[in-house]
Every structure is written in C-alpha cells, then in structure tokens.
C-alpha cells in the first residue's frame, strides 16, 4: 500500500465546544487517482470558495506518473487568511479505495468523510460523519459518454461538498465556465452532475457535522495564480528575449505559462513577428549554452529548470560566472538528492546553487516568497544579471511554483530596465584605455561591449580560461589573482543591490526567526500561534544571497535565532553562520525534509520544545 507521508502525524482533537459550528477554518483533502480529472474538481471547489470571499490555499500532492496512482489535493479554508499547509485534515473526500484506510485514519475526531458508497473501510470510525454517495448511479443518470464517466465522477463530490458545506452553487458554475472557457456543452454536463449530487445529498443525507463555508469579504480584488505563471509573466515584463529550456517537473509549467502569455504581451499581430524566442532544447546543457550565448550577445536570456537539470548546467554557470555573462536561471526546486522525488517540494538546492561551479564561485540567488515576488523577481533578475554581468539564479520551489495562491494583483513595473554597463561605439571612444575586465569604477564590475559594435577597439575574445584585464589569455599569477579579487569585489557590490530581507520586528520579542521562500506563510502563521502561547518572536525573511548587514543586525538582537527551512542539512542556517560567525552559536536550525510544504504547527512545536524543554 502506498503510504501518505503525514499519516504518522496523530490527529489532534478539535479544541472547541461540541455544539459550535466550525466556519471557514478547516482543510478538505480530496484523495483520488491522478489523471482522472480530479484537478478540475479541486480547482473548481477552491475557486468557488475564493469567490465567496473566503481565503483559501491549495496544495497538490501528486505522483510522478501520468495516470492511475494516488493523488491528494488539500484545500485549506482559513477565515484568518492563513495559506500554509495545515497538518490536520477535517474533511476527507475518499475517492481512492487503495488509500481509503490510511486517509480515514488521518482524519481528526469529528471529521467528515465523503466517499463513493462502494468504497469500504477496514476500520470504520464512530467519531466521524460518513456521507456515502451513489457515484456510479449519479454519473450514469447524467447520460455522459462511457469514456468520460471516470472524469465526470469527481463532480459528484463537488456537488456533495457544495451542499454539505453551503458552498455557493453559482460560484461553482462560474468556476466551471471559467475552466471550460465558456464552452456550453462541457459546462452543462459537469454542472448537471454537480446539481444532481447536491440534490441527492439534500434529499438523502442529513448533515451530522459542524463544518460550514460562509461568505466573507476577504478576497475582493485578489487573484489566484501559481508561482510559475507569475514568474513567466514577470520575465516577459522584464524584456526577456531568449528562453531556452528542457522539460522537467516542476519547472515545465513556467515555460508553458510563458508560451501562453508571450503572444499576448510581446507579439505583433500585424507583422506576425515576435520580440522573443522560446526554444525547447535537446537537454539542459544546451539550454544553458543558448542562454549564455544569447546573454553574451546582448539578449535578456533565461532558462527554467529543476534539480537534475540544474546539475547539468554546472559547467555553463561556471563559464558565465568567469566570462562574466549575464543570464537568468529559474530553479524550481524539487526533492533531491538525485532524481529524488520529482513531484515533491524542497529547499535543497541552496548550497549547490550558491557555490555552483568548480573553483571559488558564488552566485547571486533570489528567493521569492510570494506570488508578487515571483512576478517582480521575474524582471528584477534580468536587471541584476545585466548590472552585475553574472548569472542570477532564482530559487523557487514546487510548492510556490505549481500550487495556486491568493495574491494581491501584480502592478506594472515602476522602474526602467537596467541594461548595465554596455558601451556603444561612441561611448567607447571616451575611454582612453578600455579593457573588457578592467575595474574602472572600483565596484568590481567592468564595462562590456556587444558583438556587432562597429568600433574597432570593441572586440574581445570571451573565454573561460585565464585572462587579463584586456581579455587576453594569461597564465600570469598576478593576472589570475587580480581577477579573482575583482570578482570578490563584484560579489560584495551585489550585496548592496539584491533585495533586502523583510523584517517583522516585535518590540517584546525574545527570539528571532529566519526563513526564506515558500516557508514564509507557515512562519507568519507560527508567529501568531507562538504569541498565543506567550512566546513573542521577531521574523526576518531572507530574499537573496549574498547576505548583508540587515541580517547581522537582526542576529545581534536575539540570543536564539531559529532558521526554518525545507532541507535536511539546514543549508541556509549554515550560510547564516558563515556570514556572521560571531553569532554562530545563536543559530538554531529548524529543518524538515519529507517532501511536504512547511506547516506552522511544525515550526511552533519545534520552537516550543526548544524554548520550554520538558524535564
């Protein structure tokens, strides 16, 4: 039997009076078979609740195959706006017989189990409200073609939940219309099953649970979007002209989204031409190579990849670092080592990305923590890459990239493109003594020229071999050392340009928390939960490497600083300790590495057990 990882977590009793309704504060887990159309059902439910004004988040836990294996989708409904993974399951849609027993076991007491009436449970529970549904009959009555029955069966639980939880049927219909892009026939077919299921439940199943969705006004003006789409949108707004890529989960949907958005944003329908080239390559090595070549020749070039693909790009990142070629790499992190868990989230690439390449290298890394930052870093990465003339790696992850998140709408970029230090033929004339790798300004960043520059002095041969200030091959020790020293100066300049941490300072805080990326929602929720238990924490969210003084100042204020992350070795904690060795003893790593998104409960439990050890 396939085991759901968090089965080991014991359900916690609901801490409320037995008679009180639970409104907009629970998780729904739909346990289905992947490839069966359950994604449509889950997203319709999520969007309908969202349009009722209730904050939601969705987490898809799916297998690495095409169809037929267990998959779980969690919809968290949160009146307080929390979007992190919630460890408890209050409402279970048990539509997969293979996992039904484990799924039922993980329900909280007083929970709800909606299931086809032909699914059986080895250990039925008396403390759970069961709602058996005649799925086969309802699907048959819909008159749908036999080939489509498995797909449309999931609409039965949509209708059942709509009835049981008071989800607005108008919003269900609107979500279906959106999903099927207004095509009347599939909308009518699917909605017909939803209505039939709702009516059947109303007529046959008295409600015996306490859960309810009630309209709120907390999502007005918000959007629902995934991080990969936000990143693609941001990159196109940042003037991306070359994207080379090779398919790999979970970064594939970033370029899929780019392929959909690019014609809207950057094509000329009159001339049938585009201002971008998106190329699917033969492997990730070639993708990186095209990006390096394009960046060298003056294009805003990027690729998107994950784990094993990033490994293949090592040599090219090394070259781009040393030849000082701007390029952008989106690494949508997934679980490693090796092929690992292709469909599970992780923050395991931090160290390998930061030090990518052989020899002494260190790269600019951006860590988006929200949809807005996925969008903004989409264009900011290009500005930094061209300003610093170096690779910029944006470390997102599967949770951020592939799951749907509520977000404030994106705003039009408020700063012009920064094309960095590029000399035109005329500008070059003002330099009495120009060299491609000469540090004229003292910031470690030289001036470059682009191929095609008609000034006879503009040409240079870029290389990954040893070179002097004029880009001429050199094995002289002083040339080599001078160049490495300048690259270190450049990296220190980067420290002043990358996005600074976001600090949430509490006056009476006794501890500090440091986190980054997709763990942000869990940590913010954890801060609230900790305060309720008498522990006040300040919170600093890292948004980029290299680290800088804001972090050092934060570390100075607290005797204990908990660094929260999703990897096995506390990778960011190690970097924090390296950055501020005088405060190394204050660092307390909190890390978990099991493929699941971070939960606030885990953060709270870890900190409470450290702050109040049981004796």
């Amino acid at each position: 039997m396939i085991q759901m990882p968090d089965t080991e977590i014991q359900p916690r009793p609901l801490d409320r009076p037995a008679s009180e309704p639970i409104v907009n504060d629970f998780s729904i887990v739909a346990a289905t078979v992947n490839g069966s159309g359950s994604q449509t059902a889950n997203n319709v439910l999520m969007r309908a609740i969202f349009k009722m004004g209730v904050p939601v988040s969705g987490k898809n836990l799916f297998p690495s195959n095409i169809q037929g294996l267990p998959t779980w989708f969690t919809i968290r409904v949160s009146k307080d706006g929390y979007t992190a993974r919630r460890e408890t399951t209050e409402i279970l849609v048990a539509f997969n017989q293979r996992t039904a027993d484990e799924d039922l076991a993980s329900l909280v007491p007083g929970g709800v189990c909606v299931h086809p009436n032909d699914i059986t449970f080895t250990n039925p529970r008396s403390d759970v409200s069961f709602y058996p549904l005649p799925v086969r009959d309802l699907v048959k009555q819909s008159g749908v073609d036999a080939k489509l029955r498995d797909y449309i069966a999931n609409m039965v639980y949509v209708g059942a939940l709509a009835e049981l939880l008071s989800i607005d049927m108008n919003e269900i219909k609107a979500a279906l219309e959106r999903h099927f892009k207004g095509k009347a026939k599939p909308v009518s077919l699917n909605y017909g099953v939803v209505v039939a299921a709702a009516e059947w439940v109303r007529a046959n199943l008295p409600k015996t649970d306490r859960f309810q969705v009630a309209p709120m006004d907390k999502t007005q003006g918000l959007i629902l979007v995934d991080g990969n789409t936000a990143a693609a949108f941001g990159a196109l707004m940042g003037g991306m002209t070359v994207c080379a890529w090779y398919p790999i989960t979970p970064s594939t949907s970033l370029v899929d989204a780019m392929t959909e958005l690019a014609p809207i944003l950057r094509a000329d329908p009159e001339t049938n031409t585009t201002t971008y080239a998106i190329i699917q390559t033969e492997d990730e090595i070639a993708a990186a190579g095209i990006v390096v070549g394009a960046g060298w020749a003056g294009a805003r070039a990027m690729t998107a990849t994950s784990g094993p693909g990033l490994s293949l790009m090592n040599e090219f990142v090394s070259l781009a670092y040393f030849a000082e070629v701007p390029c952008v790499i989106w690494d949508v992190q997934r679980m490693g080592p090796s092929t690992g868990l292709p469909t599970r989230t992780s923050q395991g690439d931090v160290l390998s990305a930061y030090y990518m390449g052989h020899g002494d290298t260190h790269h600019v890394i951006l860590f988006p923590g929200s949809m807005i930052e996925c969008f903004e870093f989409g264009y900011l990465a290009f500005d930094l890459a061209e300003r610093l003339q170096t690779p910029v790696l944006v470390l997102s992850d599967l949770d951020l990239g592939m799951n749907n998140w509520m977000s404030e709408p994106f705003t039009y970029p408020d700063r012009p493109l920064d094309r960095g230090k590029v000399l035109s033929a005329d500008e070059l004339e003002k330099f009495k003594d120009w060299g491609r790798y000469k540090d004229i300004d003292g910031d470690g960043i030289p001036y470059r020229t682009l191929p095609g520059n008609p000034n006879p002095r503009a040409a240079y041969l870029a290389r990954g071999t040893g070179h002097n200030e004029y880009a001429i091959y050199s094995e002289r020790p002083q040339d080599w050392q001078r160049n490495l020293d300048r690259l270190t100066r450049k990296h220190n300049t980067a420290r002043t340009l990358v996005p600074k941490p976001v600090v949430q300072e509490a006056e009476d805080a006794t501890i500090g928390i440091v986190a980054y990326g997709s763990t942000d929602p869990a940590v913010r929720e954890a801060c609230d939960m900790l305060r309720a238990r008498g522990i006040t924490a300040s919170y600093l969210r890292i948004r980029a490497l290299p680290l800088e003084a804001t972090l050092t100042d934060f570390l100075a204020k607290y005797e204990r600083v908990y660094v929260v992350e999703l990897n096995q070795d506390g990778q960011m904690a190690q970097l924090v300790q390296l950055h501020a060795p005088e405060y190394a003893a204050r660092i307390r790593p909190i890390h978990i590495c099991n493929g699941l998104p971070m939960s606030a409960q885990f953060v709270v439990d870890s900190i409470v057990s450290a702050e109040h050890p049981v004796t």
Partner: protein
C-alpha cells in the same frame, strides 16, 4: 609580416578598404606546420576576399587545439571560446540575440565527434546560421595523443596503440540531421578550403566543413590516414570549386561542359566543374551513398558533398522581429500597460 603590395606600391585593399592584415589575429601558439594554422590562413583570406566587416563576425569555439584558433584571426571581431563540445548551443544563443552576425564556429574532432555530437546534430537540426568548421586530425592533441572518435579502424599511435573502433563520419552525421551544406576538405588543399569557406560564409543556414587537418606532432606518421602525405597521395576532389560573389558579373550557363552553378541566398553563386566522377551535390541520397562507398573503399573524397538552399533558418521558423533582439529598445521589450492589464485578466 610584409603587407601585400601591388606593383604600384599601394597596399592591396578590399571593397571596404581593409587589407588582409586587418583580418589577422594574434600569433599562433600551435605547432609549426599544424594543419589548423593553414585553415586559419584561409579563413583570413576568405574574409578579406569577401570584404566581410569584422565587427559583424563572431568567432566561436569549444575546447582543443582547433578551438584556440579564433584568437589567431580577425582580432576586430568579437569571439567566445566556450566549453568542450558546447560551442553549438552558445552560438545558437548568440545568433538568436543578433541575427545580423555572421558566426564562424571552430571545432575539432573530439569537440564535435565525441562530447559535442548531440549539440552539433541539434544545431544542424535547427539550421542555425553558422559556418561550422571541424578541424579534424583524428587525435586528442592537447592531451598528447589519444584517438578521437573520427580515427579510422586500424590506425596506430605511439602511446595509444591501435584503434579498433569504427570512425564517426562528421559529414554523414550532418547529412543525417538534414544539414543544407556539407563539405569535406583537406588543410593541405588551400585553394579548395578557401573557396568552400567563401561559399559557406554566404550560405543561409548551418554550413558544415569537415577539414582533415594533420596533427604534425601526434598523427602525421607514415601510416596515418590523417597525415599530410596520405592526404596529398589519396585526396580525390569531386569538383573544381569556385565561389562567385554577388558583385561580379556572371552569365548563368547550366551544364556547359560539365560545369554547374548553385545560386546562394542574395545572389552569390558556386561554380562547380566536375572532375572525373559524375556527381550531383544537390542529391542527398547520392551524397550518403558516396560517403558509404568511400568508407568501404577507403577513399578520401573532398569537395562540396551536398547543398540545399531551401531550408528555413532558426530565425525564420521563430518569426523573430527584424530588429536584432539585442538591440530592441525598452518600449518593445517591456509590454505596454494595456497589454499588462489584458494579461492580468487571466488571473482575476
């Protein structure tokens, strides 16, 4: 160096006022007599004769002796010495960024026939516009004498022993990937190299020239099939090749006395006078058959093996805007607010 002079004492200049000296690079660091140096000389001569604007050329290479040579020609052109086997992808990126550049890619037999074979064939598949020169000596020179994948069966080297594996034929691989310009030549045949280079520099797409280029240090001994002596004794030219630039007046006369003309993009032509063998270089089947027979019969055939001017380049299939991507101004790089709002409607 002495500047080439006419009898009247003035330097010989081309149509844009440059001398052949203007197309030179730095001093070679390769072995004296190296075939790669001969090829470099012919690149300089071809660029001079075509009156190429140096700033419109990029010189790309991978790793190996041959990949050092971009430093030895056209010092007024930008260049990129990239990674072992990876020049094709970098070149693809560069010409996407700026479609007006003429890319000259220099590679070797290890760089292309081994580590770079995948990139090479996918570059050809994409018809990236590049003059792709393989300086083929059948041996790893910088690491002092191991067989490369193009070494013939039975070849012997001092330290590496006897090669027992069949060679990878660069030209066959190019044809398999549907390359529109495939040629083989010999570094000791200077005129043929130069004419093929000029034709390739005018070709619209990937032009592959596999040039047998003897390694005088490790693979020029008496029984080597990639030595100068072997080449001189065994080379069989398919045609007498002459490149005719666009600005020359020419009467187009087909099949007169065994001559044939192939017209290239924007007007230049290649004149082919057949020698001995009756051969049609526009027939891909014939090219593949020729190479297979040559392999079986241990023949060393040089010349233009195949040409097809009909394939679209990567730029064309991508429908890229006329302005090079690298030169697009901000108002074309960053979408307008109207388009931004239109895209945002997707998420509300």
């Amino acid at each position: 160096m002495t500047v080439e002079t006419k009898t009247n004492g003035k330097p010989n200049v081309n149509r844009i006022g440059l001398t052949s000296q203007d197309y030179r690079g730095g001093e070679t660091t390769l072995c004296q007599g190296c075939g790669h140096n001969s090829i470099t000389s012919q690149i300089i001569a071809a660029a001079f004769e075509l009156s190429l604007a140096p700033h419109q050329v990029i010189k790309m290479s991978g790793i190996g002796c041959s990949s050092k040579t971009p430093a030895y020609f056209m010092s007024r052109s930008h260049g990129f010495n990239t990674l072992h086997g990876r020049m094709p992808s970098v070149t693809t990126g560069a010409v996407l960024a700026n479609r007006t550049l003429l890319a000259i890619g220099i590679s070797g037999d290890g760089d292309t026939g081994s580590i770079g074979l995948g990139q090479f064939k996918h570059m050809v598949r994409r018809n990236v516009p590049v003059v792709y020169i393989v300086e083929n000596n059948g041996v790893y020179g910088l690491t002092k004498g191991q067989f490369s994948a193009t070494a013939d069966v039975g070849q012997t080297l001092k330290y590496a022993g006897t090669n027992v594996l069949p060679p990878i034929d660069i030209c066959i691989e190019a044809l398999a990937a549907d390359c529109g310009f495939v040629a083989r030549s010999f570094a000791g045949d200077a005129k043929q190299v130069r004419e093929l280079l000029k034709a390739a520099m005018s070709f619209h797409g990937t032009a592959v020239i596999d040039i047998i280029s003897p390694c005088v240090t490790f693979n020029n001994h008496h029984d080597s099939t990639k030595s100068y002596d072997y080449g001189k004794a065994h080379e069989e030219r398919l045609q007498d090749i002459q490149f005719i630039p666009r600005f020359d007046e020419v009467h187009v006369e087909y099949e007169e006395g065994g001559e044939r003309y192939v017209q290239l993009h924007d007007g230049p032509m290649i004149k082919l006078r057949k020698l001995g063998r009756d051969y049609d270089p526009t027939n891909r089947w014939q090219a593949i058959e020729l190479l297979e027979r040559a392999r079986q019969n241990h023949e060393f055939i040089t010349g233009l093996l195949y040409i097809n001017t009909q394939r679209q380049t990567l730029h064309e299939v991508m429908h890229l805007t006329d302005t090079p991507l690298a030169y697009l101004p901000e108002d074309r790089l960053r979408p307008s607010r109207e388009r931004f709002e239109q895209a945002m409607q997707e998420f509300v």
